[in-house]
């Protein structure tokens, strides 16, 4: 029956990992706004324009990058005042 001991401890470690993940997500502010991300994900990327001039294509690029970075990190912390 000693395998039960091992299993119980594996189980509690796994559950503990999820608890820690939950606490982290709360502290990270993921439950502060549960509505906006659902809208945000439906926005299309800005349509790509034919490069008319240097200036404009550069502009388009930065905005794409910004959106990409937003996707990686959708929720910056808001409580570091």
């Amino acid at each position: 029956m000693s395998v039960v001991f091992v299993l119980v401890f594996v189980a509690i470690i796994m559950a503990g990992a999820f608890l820690i993940a939950f606490i982290w997500s709360v502290k990270n502010g993921q439950y502060e706004d549960t509505y906006t991300p659902s809208v945000r994900m439906l926005f299309d990327d800005p349509p790509l324009k034919e490069p008319v001039s240097e200036d404009q294509s550069a502009k388009g690029k930065t905005s794409k990058e910004d959106i990409a970075s937003e996707k990686r990190n959708p929720k910056p912390e808001t409580n570091n005042s």
Binding site: M1, V4, F5, V8, A11, I12, A15, G16, F18, L19, F22, I23, V26, K27, G29, Y31, E32, D33, T34, Y35, T36, V39, R40, L42, F43, D44, P46, K49, K59, T62, S63, D66, S69, E70, P74, K75, P76, T78, N79, N80, S81
Partner: protein, 798 residues
């Protein structure tokens, strides 16, 4: 015209003369300006996500160029910015206008409008935007002006700067629930084998391990998750009050010690699963009850309404200073649409000031040089000069606010139903526990202590404590769905106790805008009407707008020699004929005030006085029926700052003259409420503006009627959407239903308690009985409460 052109920006009707840009119709130049900004920055997707959702700001409401000059001052900058380091800054604004997916999209693409913005993230439920930007590329002031240029005006006021963050407590509760759930689920796993047949064959080592593991799990649940219950139980006991938290705390402690004793002695595994389950359910109830409307504010005071800074006139020129630095004797400049910040004397020749929010009077008041100007009015027209008489803190309005400290909120928690019940409940339980213990002491001494603790364990009033949060929490949600927003669930208990209702008049039982118009005088032919319409088109005075909309007609005539004389009227020539429109004195030269107290706009054309437009407030739809219904159950009163011009109409509606009071100052209103309360009445005050603020605060329940619930409203207990005004009686009646649901919930949980007690007093309460009975009672009460509230809301049809 068969089809009406709609502005492609805001969806409003473009009227007869749309502004056209790139073949798109707009209702006003403001809307077309926003379109042009978005167009040049390739942000036209704004109009595709959700069409015609743009925000319209009437030209005269637009903030002046200098309005945000104070944001350049270091003093305000450091307060408003959340964070600023290494050229990067972060700021968060509350923007009441955020309402759709297009808003989110545009605001999160701010970086395409200005390179200085690095990232902007919208929090839709809070109507908040968090912006990270480079200060050397775009200053805070420029950033705010950028938002204003696309018609998203952030709310920047003293209140929004001082606002303490409420997120922390929310987060803490989430973590507490998480830990309680973790302990509960795991404890169930350890206990479950012991409830199965054949558990006696379980190895003692495993049994011991399960026991100690569950004790380890119970410790964080008890000391961290449930800490509030012990704290409040202790605090109220110190004050000599038995609150619902006391039997809960008692039950939790007994559960834990009993389990500990059983595990140490090796007799059993204890009740840890029931214990952690209790904590988990209790916290869920607290979360459900505590959910509030994030974007609504019930705590605002005059500070929100007043500006942060004013323009001071000094010998060296104009400068922006903070409102709190303003001293008596200072000279200040107040521009169009700005608020008069302190009681002062008018230095400029004349002006009109809109006091609608402060006094409830719907028409702007005319002031001439040397007149005393109360704080809180909104300046309309050209910039004026004022000399401050009293500092902001001593101004009339501020004083009124400060004297109205809410007297009942401090101890209102004591009267709630749950604490009434829990008092007798606790006494009965302790009595049963002791008598059980004594009985067994004489009959079978070895189980006396166990029977005693069993009673305390099974009586732990979890289900009882969950009834109120879930009933009132669902009621609050049902109300919220129907446009009636409560500050918290305690308001419901005050609502059904109310037996007197006090109404404010202007803006509360009438629409805020004058809309009932008659022309009194000689008959006007269509051509003459068109001439009037053409002339008033050129004026931005609210009365001119109302008349403009009142007269039908398509093509406007050309007006020459147009003149607007502040606070008197307008004049102009059409086809060589002179027209004067305005006050009686201006038009007819007759200085005598008219007997009629209603608002009048006189017209002079064809070399004679043609007559006048009479404007009246229109009563809210369904007012008559509402009063009829409320009169049966409540004592009704009306307080108004206006004169008694409407007396006959009101008499018709209210039926009796006794409780109608006219010409009431804000202080009168406050004292009136106090007197009613002295007579033992529970008063519900319904108002809308700052003039009612004192009364709203003083009353047992203060409800504010608002056209836009997100805009400024004085501090109150509840906000009612103005189009739901006629349903007020239904909301009031529904609270009685909620109360009945609460009583039924109490009954259910008491029945469960009786069943549990029958085991406990016999000394045969086993962990399995507790583990089944306690969660079932909690869950069934929760299900019963939420379902019966939503079901009766459906049946009730309001």
């Amino acid at each position: 015209m068969s089809e009406e052109l709609k502005c492609i920006h805001c969806g409003n009707s473009c009227g007869k003369s749309p502004v056209v840009f790139e073949e798109n119709p707009f209702c006003c130049s403001g809307c077309s300006t926003v379109y042009q900004i978005l167009n040049t920055n390739q942000l036209k997707q704004y109009y595709q996500i959700e069409p015609m959702q743009g925000i319209r700001i009437e030209d005269e409401k637009k903030p002046a160029n200098e309005t945000y000059a104070f944001l350049d001052l270091e003093k305000f900058k450091s307060k408003i910015l959340i964070f600023s380091e290494g050229g990067f800054s972060k700021v968060s604004f509350f923007i009441p206008e955020i309402h759709c997916a297009s808003c989110i999209w545009l605001l999160e693409n701010l970086h395409r409008l200005n390179q200085g913005v690095i990232q902007s993230v919208v929090n839709f439920p809070k109507k908040e935007i968090n912006i990270t930007f480079r200060e050397n590329e775009i200053s805070l002031r420029k950033l705010v002006e950028l938002l204003v240029s696309i018609h998203y005006i952030p709310e920047i006021s003293q209140h929004s700067i001082d606002k303490p963050s409420t997120d922390q407590s929310d987060k803490k509760l989430f973590i507490k629930i998480g830990i309680a759930a973790f302990s509960f689920m795991n404890a169930m796993i350890y206990h479950f084998p012991q409830y199965l047949p054949g558990h006696e064959f379980l190895e003692p080592d495993i049994r011991r391990m399960f026991g100690w593991l569950s004790v380890a799990l119970a410790i964080p649940a008890l000391t961290y998750s449930a800490s509030d219950y012990f704290l409040t139980a202790y605090k109220s006991l110190k004050k000599g009050i038995i609150s619902i938290d006391l039997p809960i705390a008692l039950g939790l402690i007994t559960l834990f010690t009993q389990s500990l004793v059983e595990i140490i002695s090796g007799k059993g595994i204890g009740y840890i699963d029931s214990l952690t389950g209790l904590v988990f359910f209790l916290l869920i109830g607290r979360w459900y009850q505590g959910k509030t409307y994030q974007a609504l504010s019930f705590e605002r005071d005059y500070k929100t309404y007043f500006p942060l800074a004013v323009t001071q006139i000094t010998e060296t020129g104009n400068q922006t200073i903070a409102l709190e630095d303003l001293k008596a004797g200072d000279r200040i400049l107040v521009r169009n649409q700005e608020i008069v910040p302190a009681d002062s004397i008018l230095m400029s020749e004349s002006t009109s000031i809109d006091y609608s929010f402060v006094t409830g009077e719907s028409m702007p008041v005319t002031k001439t040089a040397g007149d005393f100007v109360f704080a809180g009015g909104r300046q309309i027209g050209n910039a004026i000069e004022l000399t401050i008489e009293k500092e902001v803190q001593q101004s009339y309005l501020t004083q009124l606010w400060n004297q109205a400290e809410n007297p009942y909120s401090a101890n209102d928690k004591l009267n709630t139903i749950i604490n009434h019940v829990s008092q007798s409940f606790t006494i009965v339980i302790v009595f049963i526990a002791i008598s059980t213990g004594i009985f067994w002491y004489f009959n079978k001494p070895e189980i006396a202590l166990f029977a005693f603790t069993s009673v305390l364990i099974i009586a732990c009033p979890c289900a009882l404590a969950l009834t109120v949060p879930f009933t009132f929490g669902s009621t609050m949600r049902q109300f919220g769905r129907r446009g009636f927003y409560l500050k918290n669930t305690a308001v419901i208990e005050h609502l059904y106790k109310v037996d007197a209702v006090v109404f404010d008049k202007t803006g509360t039982i009438t629409n805020a805008k004058l809309s009932d118009i008659h022309f009194i005088g000689k008959e006007l032919n269509p051509e003459e009407l068109l001439m009037i319409k053409s002339l008033v088109f050129h004026s931005s005075h609210p009365l001119s707008k109302t008349i403009f909309n009142f007269i039908e007609g398509e093509k406007l005539l050309e007006v020459s020699d147009f003149q607007e004389i502040p606070s008197l009227g307008i004049s102009g020539k059409i086809n060589g004929m002179k027209l004067n429109i305005g006050s009686k004195y201006f038009v007819s030269g007759d200085k005598k005030e008219s007997e009629n107290l209603k608002t009048e706009v006189w017209v002079y054309l064809n070399d004679s006085v043609a007559g006048y437009f009479q404007l009246e407030n229109e009563y809210r739809h369904g007012l008559g029926e509402l009063i009829q219904k409320l009169r049966k159950t409540h004592e009704l009163h009306l307080l108004t700052g206006d004169n008694d011009a409407e007396k006959t109409n009101l008499l018709h509606i209210f039926g009796s003259e006794k409780n109608l009071h006219f010409n009431q100052t804000p202080t009168d209103k406050l004292n009136y409420i106090r007197n009613l309360q002295k007579r033992g009445k529970k008063v519900l005050m319904i108002g809308d503006g700052l003039n009612d603020a004192g009364a709203l605060n003083e009353s047992n329940v203060g409800i504010v009627v608002a056209d836009n619930v997100f805009n400024f409203s004085p501090a109150c207990d509840a906000i009612l959407q103005s189009d739901k005004f006629a349903s007020l009686d239904k909301f009031l009646r529904f609270t009685h239903r909620s109360r009945r649901v609460v009583y039924a919930g109490f009954l259910i949980s008491l029945i469960y308690n009786l069943v549990g007690l029958s085991f406990a007093v016999q000394g045969i309460l086993t962990p399995i009985v507790a583990a089944i009975l306690m969660p079932i009672s909690s869950i069934s009460v929760v299900v019963f409460a939420s379902f019966s509230v939503s079901l009766s809301a459906k049946v009730f049809k309001f």
